[in-house]
Symmetry: C2
């Protein structure tokens, strides 16, 4: 089984898959007479295709154990999907490039509690993986009449073990 060491999440490494939502390194400016700082436009929400509309949700994610064997990734072609942890908790981001699914392209990142991600439409990604206990995430994604979830299941000889 291929063993994959999860790397720290950075904007540069995640750029092929979407955006890292974080204050560090982001454009910002003061508002409200200096009582707040706006870290502006950290991620676009894509939700309009095929009568879609953006939704705000909370996902309560139960913790996964490491090492984690990756057996399935999913993608949403019609909309982006953003996750941000609501407490200071590490979590795991496992992705593969959009297009035809290739298990050899799987990458894994460890996010910290000050980092969210926004998956671009079509990015293959693992379901939510909290690491340090049950954690709520704010999730911004697409609602609409069409079902928009493809799953890619890995064969036994394609499985990937992620260590962090």
């Amino acid at each position: 089984m291929r063993v994959l060491a999860a790397r720290p999440l950075t904007r540069e490494a995640f750029a092929p898959y979407g955006e890292v939502i974080a204050k560090a390194g982001a454009e910002h400016f003061d508002i409200n007479d200096g009582m707040a700082t706006r870290y502006h436009d950290l991620a676009p929400v894509e939700a309009a295709k095929e009568q879609g509309r953006p939704l705000i949700n909370i996902f309560e994610g139960r913790p996964w154990a490491l090492p984690l064997t990756i057996r399935m990734l999913e993608r949403h072609n019609l909309g982006s999907q953003a996750f941000f942890p609501l407490r200071d908790c590490r979590w795991l981001v496992v992705v593969a490039p959009a297009g035809d699914f290739d298990p050899a392209g799987i990458e894994a990142f460890v996010a910290d509690g000050a980092q969210g991600v926004n998956y671009r439409p079509g990015t293959w990604h693992h379901p939510l993986v909290a690491l340090d206990g049950t954690t709520d995430f704010l999730v911004v994604d697409r609602g609409g009449p069409a079902v928009d979830c493809d799953e890619a299941h890995l064969a036994e000889d394609e499985l990937v073990r992620v260590e962090a």
Copy 2:
């Protein structure tokens, strides 16, 4: 000066102004083979008018002292604006009904760290008020070519003092 006691934030009391974003009392179902629970569609994002698009931002809010004298509310006519605290912190929500601004209509609510709000387009609201120290909030609002912020300033004899 009128003195206003801030009430605990509830869905029912906030309904004229928008949505409370919280797990308590919300529709939910398990996903990801039981590893997560989705509290679904807690608030709509309205951002499409006049070439608008939804944005995800982080606001770093500095704390205000109580009692707070309300001198100004603002509104966004073209889009909703959602706030969710990224740590367990109380914060203050001060609103007035949409339409012609009426200082007599101002209401105040204390939100806890498990509650966000989504201001409906046109709802008058005070700028972000963190109470328990500097706190980051995830903010989902509208970007677009038009400036979309009206301010209503209270005259000296209209000022409201909020206590919590």
